[in-house]
């Protein structure tokens, strides 16, 4: 039977659950998702037009897996890890069917440095060789999980292709070849020693995130928002600027042009920390909305499995999935074709456990191959709720499994307040765990400043309710000041254009300086107002303008300029103080 991407095949005895099969004369790639008697239900990763009943289905004996080894970085794959550049050279600009290609290049010679000697005992996960894959990433070749023993037939350091056997690991009863690559089934998470508590933020360079709703390395965050509210731009910002070693970007059922944008832009952009092109740490999975939905379902797993592999080398990996709602819809569509009983809004009852499994693959861990080394995967998933309504199933279930929630607000987006992350509806449960880090690495006062700024913003929110009814004029001056300073915070601090040359990425120290100066302004102004000075005196246009514009006028490498700004503001208030003292004396 053929029903869209779902095919049922008879006489399939011996085939395994999740085995990859080749369907029909075109040899379309599929995966077994249900086994009942000798009938296998297969989800086909390519368009099934023209497929007929009684066409042959062949097993491959392999579970749906990814190929892990040098050559991953800088690649673009589809949802089942077919390399799109290679497909392009094989079949042209449009994706044809039945074309397969190895994910990694088998011809390319890599400079391999071998790190073990003949006869050494090696353990699972141990790093036994390394390759400088790009100028930014050292690719560490590991003994695959579940394999330990004595290293024999160890090659010398030299130039090898990925298929070369570097050594043979002999245990009592088995011999295993260790090559430059290994395979791993995508639906099984890779093992590690133990999970660790969050201790360090993933610095994103986005003020509203780092200052108010930080995510830890190994954390999980969701960005829900209606269309056009900024999920993709935020994800791109994180992919560009987050201080991770490896970026995995999964375009899951979204636009082709957004992938092209990354492909065209990233090679030209430099990592502010390493100075290397961003593409040299990035892997893209592009299963756009017009590509087969079943491969969209797989893309998420392909992505995390690759992420885990780099985590196992001891790296901090950040994974963005845009959009997890399209993945959930793929689950729904396949479930519908299987005629399963639907739960909420047609989604299958296992939606919530699938979402949980996915986000649980985030985390900071002690890696398998070492006693003291850690690696992490941070997952940032976009959620696209229908009608922008957060009470729908994918958003509500996601909320249960992430600890960071960056809620995008349509009205902010309409007002072109970007990023339109709502400072009222968002939260991060990592904040307390990260206080120490910010104190030690940014400033002892940083968390305090952040709290104070947030309380001004929330007081402002209350005052806005009043203003909506009666206007700002009736507020007493101290409350007016709060509204004005909150406005400086909104425009001058929270708003951050992704397209600004200076401000797209904001260093932590710059964040701290800006926050400190704005709050210093508030304190000085507030003390004058409490002494009865008119608010118009403290809202000097030039000063307010300086505060609003400092994000653009001071670049990350010229932080000393803040001293000047601070000085200007101090002398402004000093002279106001003086003037007021005189008035009082007179």
């Amino acid at each position: 039977m053929v029903n869209g991407p779902v095919v049922k095949a008879k006489e399939m005895t011996g085939v395994m659950m999740h085995e990859v099969v080749k369907v029909g004369k075109l040899k379309l790639t599929g995966e077994v998702i249900v086994l009942e008697g000798d009938t296998a239900t297969i989800q086909v990763y390519e368009e099934t037009s023209g497929l007929k009943p009684n066409e042959p289905v062949e097993g491959t004996g392999k579970l749906l897996s990814v190929m892990l080894g040098p050559g991953l970085i800088g690649s673009v794959f589809d949802g089942i890890q077919r390399p799109l550049e290679v497909l392009r050279s094989k079949s042209g600009d449009f994706l044809q069917r039945g074309i397969s290609a190895e994910p990694l290049d088998f011809e390319k010679q890599w400079d391999v440095e071998i790190l073990v000697n003949e006869g050494d005992e090696v353990k699972e996960g141990q790093i036994v060789a390394k390759v400088n894959e790009t100028s930014a990433v050292e690719h560490r070749i590991m003994v695959p999980p579940n394999i330990s023993g004595k290293a024999t037939k160890v090659q010398k350091s030299g130039k090898y292709t990925i298929d070369t056997v570097l050594m043979i690991v002999e245990s009592k009863d088995e011999k295993h070849e260790v090559k430059l690559y290994q395979n791993w089934p995508v639906r099984v998470s890779r093992p590690y020693k133990e999970r660790l508590a969050p201790s360090e933020p993933l610095i994103t360079g986005q003020r509203v995130i780092d200052t108010f709703f930080p995510i830890s390395k190994g954390g999980a965050a969701a960005i829900p928002g209606g269309f056009g509210t900024g999920k993709t731009v935020t994800q791109h910002q994180l992919a560009k600027w987050a201080d991770a070693d490896i970026i995995l970007y999964i375009g899951c059922g979204e636009r082709g042009n957004e992938m092209t944008e990354v492909l065209e832009e990233f090679p030209k952009l430099m990592d502010p920390r390493s100075g290397k092109p961003l593409m040299e740490r990035t892997i893209l999975i592009a299963n756009t909305s017009n590509m087969p939905v079943s491969a969209r379902e797989a893309s998420i797993y392909t992505g995390v499995t690759i992420a885990e592999y780099f985590r196992d080398m001891g790296y901090n990996v950040a994974l963005m999935a845009d959009s997890t709602s399209r993945w959930a819809e793929a689950l729904r569509e396949i479930s519908g074709r299987l005629e399963e009983m639907p739960a909420e809004e047609g989604f299958p009852p296992y939606l919530s456990s699938r979402i949980a499994e996915f986000y649980e693959r985030a985390g900071r861990v002690r890696i398998l191959g070492s006693e003291d080394q850690n690696g992490s995967i941070s997952i940032i998933g976009a959620v696209s709720p229908p009608g922008g309504d957060f009470s729908e199933p994918v958003t509500t279930h996601t909320k249960r499994f992430v600890r960071c929630f960056w809620a995008l607000d349509k009205s902010l987006a309409n007002a072109r307040h970007y990023p339109s992350i709502s400072w009222l509806d968002s939260y991060s449960e990592y904040t307390t765990e990260l206080v120490d880090w910010f104190e030690q690495n940014v400033d002892p006062n940083f968390s305090k400043l952040s709290k104070r700024a947030m309380s001004l913003l929330s007081e402002d929110n209350n005052l806005q309710q009043i203003i909506k009814l009666v206007g700002e004029d009736v507020l007493p001056d101290d409350q007016k000041l709060i509204v004005r300073v909150a406005n400086i915070l909104k425009v001058g601090y929270l708003q951050q254009s992704a397209f600004s040359d200076v401000d797209a990425f904001c260093d932590m120290h710059k964040q701290h300086e800006m926050l400190r100066i704005i709050l210093m302004y508030y304190d000085r102004a507030n003390s004058l107002i409490s002494k009865g000075v008119a608010i118009s005196e403290v809202l000097e246009e030039k000063i307010v303008n300086t505060l609003m514009r400092m994000k653009e006028t001071v670049s990350n490498d010229k932080l000393e300029y803040f001293k000047q700004i601070e000085q200007t503001i101090r002398s402004f208030f000093d002279s106001l103080d003086e003037k007021y003292e005189k008035v009082k004396e007179a």
Binding site: K52, L84, G228, G256, E264, P386, G387, R416, K468
Partner: protein, 461 residues
Amino acid sequence: MPLKEYMGLSQINGPLIFIENVGNVGYNEVVEVTFRQETRIGQVVQISDKFAVVQVFQGTEGLNVNETKVKFLGKTLQVKVSEEILGRTFNGIGEPIDGGVDIINGVYQDINGFPINPASRMYPRNFIQTGISAIDGLMTLIRGQKLPIFSGNGLPHNRLAVQITKQAKIKGEESGNFAIVFAAMGIKHDDARFMLSNFEESGAIKNVVTFLNLADDPTIERIATPRVALTAAEYLAFEKGMHVLVILTDMTNYCEALRELSTSRGEVPSRKGYPGYLYSDLASMYERAGMIRNKRGSVTQIPILSMPNDDITHPIPDLTGYITEGQIVLSRELQRKGVYPPIGILPSLSRLMKDGIGEGYTRADHPHVSSQLFAAYSRVQEVRALASIIGEEELTNIDRRYLKFGDAFEREFLSQGYDEDRSIEETLDLGWKLLGNLPPSELTRVSEEELKKYYKEIGEN
């Protein structure tokens, strides 16, 4: 291979027919359904080794179970394309209906096309000047973009679409290489005639290909119409190097046809009865816009859809917005105020504009002025809300200046004539002129240098 023919059906249900004991039939294969000399076209939507389910594009009205003959053609639904289609009119499944000759030379192509390999795309960057200030200044259209018009009953989306197509130009390029593919799904005869006669009138556009499925044409045929049109567009763009603007109207009618089909197939419905795969289905069409590396042509799409009850959260505009690269939203309120084109700028957006405007594309100040105009106009809405409660007299001085700006902005910037074609420079200068209503301290999104160069405060009085 001999074609397989069967006599008699086992069941008819809505637009679907069921045929038993068929063998060797492919999924999505095209079918000819003949009943007493009359032939209709269908497509296999589900098969097993026992039966095939076929959707009939012209509907099943008048068919009966025992006299209907079904012929499986062994291929998927295709349309014949060549340069000969320029200037011609076809029905919703690509058959000529203008009384002209059949398309003689040409190639058959699958109407579903194939997805563009994301690695083959070229990021669209060429600014298309539409001559409409609201669009060029604030939601710039880019060649290769998909930018829908969200409209409602009685709003002038057709007129706007006509004005865009008439005025659209790329700077420094003649328009010879330009074609329009027009696909009508379920729209009224009058609307189709209005648009077509306008395309023909404007001398610049000789190359129009039209696919018509009008309000009284078979509903299910609408499922094929946009796909047929996009197949033609892709051919002209990527085989013949033309820049093709595709107008798809009205996508709401398309979606309703899809819902009807889905219901008769007994599928589990998602929101408002639309199938759960509506997103993927729409994406399979909208994603056919774009540009390809090393190819000259482009496909730019302007789908038009009417929002049921003006509700932008309705699944059709909602899912469209999730796929397209922005949207132009028409506002009933502005229409009531007599503003043409009544483009509600706050909910409107062009996502590709950021890379196609500014220095080297339009003018260096463009990104900042547009951002400033958005911010200011958004403030106008707040002030208006407040003024309606406490009265204009109670507003602060600054707020009153915002009101003035807002009115002038709607009157002078948003409003323009049906034939008024403004250059991008005129549009930007007009924007600056209107910002003169506000004091410089409010203009935080433009740079100090730009203020010096373009800003002139309009004195209060």
